[in-house]
């Protein structure tokens, strides 16, 4: 962290003065870790049409937090991670076994999870307001250890991408074809949805439940407008996520609004830009 602080101190911003505003410096580092994480995951969320699924995961993460709080954990996040992973596994299993369309299965899971969350968090006449912070998120509250945790997750996701991106893409394009070439489609889908579950849950506290899914959809949605190959797709998605992350944090600092919302708005502008720049086909 010392190295990072020393680096940031070189920046020409009033919060970048040496020896002060550490929360802002932590937040900047967190954004630099979270945004590429979402930029990369986003490509496959959009490509395999899982944006509704990742949205539902956000809801289940909140329920996990409520369960964790009731059980009296110091860190309800871990309960939330476990709950989200179970949610993802169950969802995959049910989707495979049932003849229902995937968005119907998601709807069933999502509404159950939300209802359970509200039920548990208001149990015994308790107030819901303590969960309000989760809905909006606060990146300025991030601590250096959490940034390290996020960096670890980023590393794991990058390794996962390096090892199994091809199989994941084939599974999304044509499961039967993927299977005929030796891809374990079910496991690919499962590992990917667990990865989304962990990432969404861990970063929810800082990004905010209400906008977290936009970070999983907008970067790749924007990239699709202008990309013709997988490499361009990843590049534009990553670039958009990181630029919007930095710009969003800066803006929120100067105007005093939620960083998660500001980042999302920048991503929406990025989407509009690529939409207008797209080649007519």
């Amino acid at each position: 962290m010392e190295l990072w602080y020393a680096l940031v101190d070189l920046l020409p911003f009033d919060w970048a003065q040496p020896g002060s505003m550490y929360f802002m410096k932590n937040a900047l580092l967190a954004v630099l870790v979270i945004s590429p994480l979402f930029g990369v995951l986003s490509t496959m969320v959009v490509h395999s049409r899982m944006s509704f699924f990742s949205d539902a995961l956000g809801h289940s993460a909140f329920t996990g937090m409520a369960i964790g709080a009731i059980c009296g954990f110091n860190e309800p996040t871990w309960a939330a991670v476990i709950f989200a992973v179970v949610f993802a596994l169950l969802f995959n299993l049910v989707r495979r076994r049932s003849a229902l369309a995937s968005d119907t299965v998601i709807g069933v899971f999502s509404s159950t999870a939300v209802a359970l969350g509200i039920f548990l968090s208001t149990l015994g006449g308790r107030s819901f307001t303590k969960f309000n912070s989760l809905l909006i998120g606060d990146i300025l509250s991030v601590e250096p250890e959490k940034v390290a945790l996020l960096a670890g997750i980023l590393l794991v996701v990058l390794v996962l991408w390096g090892l199994s991106f091809n199989q994941l893409m084939l599974s999304a394009v044509h499961p039967a074809l993927a299977d005929s070439r030796g891809v374990k489609v079910f496991w690919q889908e499962t590992v990917f949805s667990v990865a989304i579950a962990v990432v969404v849950t861990v970063s929810m506290t800082w990004v905010g439940l209400l906008v977290i899914n936009s970070l999983l959809v907008l970067p790749a949605a924007a990239a699709r407008n202008v990309s013709r190959t997988m490499f361009q797709y990843h590049l534009v998605s990553l670039l958009g996520a990181v630029l919007a992350g930095i710009a969003g944090l800066m803006t929120s600092y100067y105007v005093g609004s939620s960083a998660g919302a500001a980042i999302t708005l920048y991503l929406a502008v990025w989407f509009l830009g690529t939409f207008l720049a797209r080649k007519k086909q």
Binding site: T43, N166, H174, S180, F231
Partner: protein
Amino acid sequence: MRRLKHGKMSGGCGDSCCLKLEGLNVRIQGEEILEDVSFHLHCGEITALIGPNGAGKSTLFRSILGQLPYSGSITFAPAGGPAIRLADGTVMGGTRPLIGYVPQSPSFDRGDPVSVLDFFTAATARWPVCLPIPGKYRERCRRSLERVHGGDLLDKPMGGLSGGQLQRVLLALALEPVPHILVLDEPLSGVDIEGEHQLLEMLDELRTEYDLSILLSTHDFATLGQFADKVILLNKRVLRMGPPEEVTSSPEFYETFHLRMGKGGEG
């Protein structure tokens, strides 16, 4: 009729067998989809599978590919050929055939950011295609595509291919590595007349060049006589099997497709 490499259409089966299905039964959720299906595929021979929608053609393919549980037996006897070694070092052959599968129209949107090179490399190599693709994979992909006269398709987006072009890319992929058996699910649907002609020519080339056994399903009865060595009429069970003209003039054929005797043509 074309010359056959070593096809034997009737009676007992010599050494030329590639794939034997004996008494195949498939049930999905309690419903009998295939019942007592038996036939043999021979090397260097093109077999066409016809039947109405819901006859179990795709189910049969999935059973052959090992993606569905079945009772009965599917065995593979290479026609005296040695076991072959794949690019990744595993040895195939003996009882388990290497099957090249050309699926029915995979879903690509026009705007999908997947080039032919991306798709091909993702399916044949370990190199993650989210990174720039090195020249050696490009070269390999180009060589494979040239096998199906599609070298110029390399940088096209998958979503922008015509039906015929997409089939050729899928065919090139199914031939990498060269399989014992090539299975094509409705390769002629969504392909225009010229594309269809090209595709059939290509299949003919391939089976002679690689001594492949080819199984394809089709609804295009008019061209059956031009390319198929054997036709299997399937509707849950094998209703009729034999040379194209024999099957398409059989009472079973007319009954299955609700045609009146003497009219013929496409159903």
